[in-house]
Amino acid sequence: MLLKKRTFLAGAATIAALTALSTGAALAQDKTKVGFIYVGPINDGGWSQHHHESALKMVEEIGEDKVELVYQENVPEGPDSERAMTQMALQGADIIFSTSFGYMDPTLNVAGKFPDVKFEHATGYKTSDNMSAYSARFYEGRAVQGTIAGRMTQSNIIGYIASVPIPEVVRGINSAYIHAKKVNPDVEFKIIWLYTWMDPAKEADAAKTLIDQGADVILQHTDSTAPLAAAKEAGGVIGFGQAGDMADYAPSPRVSSIIDNWAPYYISRVEAVMDGSWESHSVWEGIGDGMVGIGEITDAVPEDVKAEALAMKDAIASGEYHPFTGPLKKQDGSDWLAEGEVADDGTLAGMMFYVEGIEGSVPQ
């Protein structure tokens, strides 16, 4: 017990020292220092690259004379990310964005040590006085994607490369399935779980397997362009850009894309730090707010399908249509949403079940 108490006191002293230093460093400069940590390399063509590009856009928008960007790429989730963020805070960062789910607890730890630094964590659920959570309603994009996929498939088999079994990914599968089924009742989903967000070799293998099983549309929730490369090689197969536009593969196999557009959010949050109005919050923004973008639908998609997809996009953006609107049943046949009922955010946030019609089970 004695040891514990001493530990606590000494710990408090360290925190005080850390805080004093960080504020000292922050005062020494006028520019607002913005830190970013990325889970992948900044040229991964997907998740991390898009965060980085949005960060660069933020700097451009606010002005290089007013903000200084520091970043670290390829940061493993866990203690290494805690060190990366502490390092940035020590060196005077005013706000730090940690852009992967696995940084959640480390961010919370560092936020506790630096009460004067603001933290923004992507795609998690924990917040504190100086730590916000932000995420995007990617499932809105999946609804548009599912519509195109359902119309385009000839074999009625759609392959889905799923990443890590968390609610976000499950939501995406459900949303894509519901909307593919709506326009094509014969559609069938084949899902492969990779348990990773990015691994070009595994993604390519998964895409090939799905194509071998007859899929002529490949949807992916992983970040590399490997599935598109596999689709191109196979021929007669289409896919979509994920996280980034992946326009190198347009007009086919890449017929459209779901784009993560974090720039507006980053600009508003950094500006909030600059004018002192920053407050901790937890937000979930979609197509309407501009956080989720739909990449150009190419000419490989017939005009009427394109129009249908864009109408869907507009209806979601205006709030007129919600991708999870009843009647919907869960996979086991039990009722989920009644006619006209719309899913609440709480259920969506923790969604770990498939809707009726999807085969297989969510790994857990």
């Binding site: 514990k4 001493r6 530990t7 606590f8 006191l9 000494a10 710990g11 002293a13 360290t14 020292a17 850390l18 230093l21 830190g35 390399p41 520091v70 970043y71 670290q72 790429e73 390829n74 940061v75 493993p76 989730e77 866990g78 203690p79 290494d80 805690e82 060190r83 990366a84 502490t86 390092q87 940035m88 020590l90 060196q91 789910f101 696995g102 607890d105 730890n109 998690g124 659920y125 890590v164 079994p165 968390i166 609610p167 499950v170 348990y195 990773t196 946030a349 923790g350 969604m351 770990m352 790994p363 857990q364």
Partner: protein, 360 residues
């Protein structure tokens, strides 16, 4: 003509000098690399090697050296025993994972019970988890003569998948809204691997690493088993004649390495990492192989090498965020270290002869 002549005995003095020489050459070559990338080489080298230890924020970085170096040292010590005897356990990463899963499993099963014996029990479970995983390639080698390099390496991938299954399945935090990852053991006092002196970075795993270094030193220099390990590595036939049982040696070396790797994993998951997550392992088990060789398979050398390796990680990260050096450049830099060590090793085993051509 320049040619290499094998020395009858490796040069003793050189074997101590070459690691230092390798570090110096790495600094020069690394500096060149950074200069080509348009960064100030002197500043980069200073950021990597000097600032973490003596710079403005060294009060934070010094403890981090222990946090990062601790598991590397612990694993490398275990590996070095086998490497000395020519037993190649490449699967420490898997044993590290299994130790962490076993240790965390005990804690999560007992949550939220608070008792003094939980942490000791986790330590035992961690060591056993790693030991058991290492016993698979060890027993297969002894019984069926399989190649322990392949089996131990392949088991890393099995362990990784097991870890993922645990993170999204049995060990998932029931209060985590369906997200993968276990409860955070840092918030479970009985299971938390705390710092022995707060702010020092010295958690129980680091202490275990230093104790293991002393034990390994005694084992290798003062104990018959240590003699047998060295003898088997240097002269396997002579070892056999002097009564060494190779099978038992394999079981001992693999088992010890596995147990130490398991301990490292357990101390990591209950301390700095806190959680079983899908990406819990970050390559300590593989980096430890470099540490073992950089440290000349000698316990004290390994402690120094582990700290040096930790320094390149921490300094490398600092160089990334302060100078915006790309992560890949830092990885190349770390790779150079091993490359140059192996390269200058030639000097320990060979002599350079210069003659004026055949005709003369």
């Amino acid at each position: 003509m320049i040619y290499l002549e094998k020395r009858p005995q490796p040069a003793r003095a050189l074997s101590y000098v070459t690691p230092v020489l390798a570090v110096l050459i790495t600094m020069v070559a690394g500096g060149l690399l950074f200069a080509i990338l348009g960064k100030d080489p002197v500043e980069a080298i200073r950021t990597i090697f000097w600032d973490p230890v003596f710079g403005e924020f060294s009060f934070y970085y010094r403890p981090q050296l222990l946090v990062k170096g601790g598991p590397l040292i612990l694993i490398a010590l275990g590996l070095s025993l086998g490497f000395k005897a020519g037993i190649w356990n490449i699967g420490a990463e898997g044993q590290y994972i299994m130790g962490a899963v076993a240790g965390a499993g005990v804690a999560l099963a007992l949550y939220p019970l608070e008792a003094w014996w939980i942490f000791p029990l986790m330590v035992i479970a961690g060591a056993l988890g790693g030991w058991a995983w290492a016993m698979i390639p060890a027993l297969l080698k002894v019984k069926f003569g399989t190649n322990e390099i392949l089996v131990s390496l392949m088991l890393v991938y099995v362990a990784e998948n097991f870890l993922k299954a645990m993170a999204i399945g049995a060990m998932k935090n029931p209060e985590g809204f369906g997200f993968p990852g276990s409860r955070n053991l840092q918030q479970y006092p009985s299971a938390h691997n705390t710092e022995i002196i707060a702010g020092s970075g010295m958690h129980w795993g680091v202490a275990a690493a230093f104790i293991a270094a002393i034990m390994a030193y005694i084992l290798l220099n003062r104990h018959l088993l240590g003699f047998q390990i060295r003898l088997t590595g240097e002269a396997p036939r002579a070892a056999r004649f002097s009564g060494v049982k190779p099978g038992r040696l394999v079981l001992f070396c693999m088992g010890t390495a596995g147990a130490l790797a398991g301990l490292a994993g357990m101390f990591e998951v209950s301390g700095p990492a806190g959680q079983i997550t899908t990406g819990f392992n970050v390559g300590y088990g593989f980096t430890a192989i470099i540490v073992a060789f950089l440290g000349r398979l000698h316990p004290i050398g390994i402690v120094l090498a582990g700290l040096l390796m930790a320094l390149t990680y921490i300094g490398g990260e600092a160089a990334q965020s302060t100078m915006q050096l790309p992560a890949a450049a830092i990885q190349v830099f770390q790779g150079m270290l091993l490359f140059f060590l192996l390269a200058v090793d030639v000097l320990t085993n060979y002599r350079i002869r210069i003659t004026l051509g055949e005709a003369a």
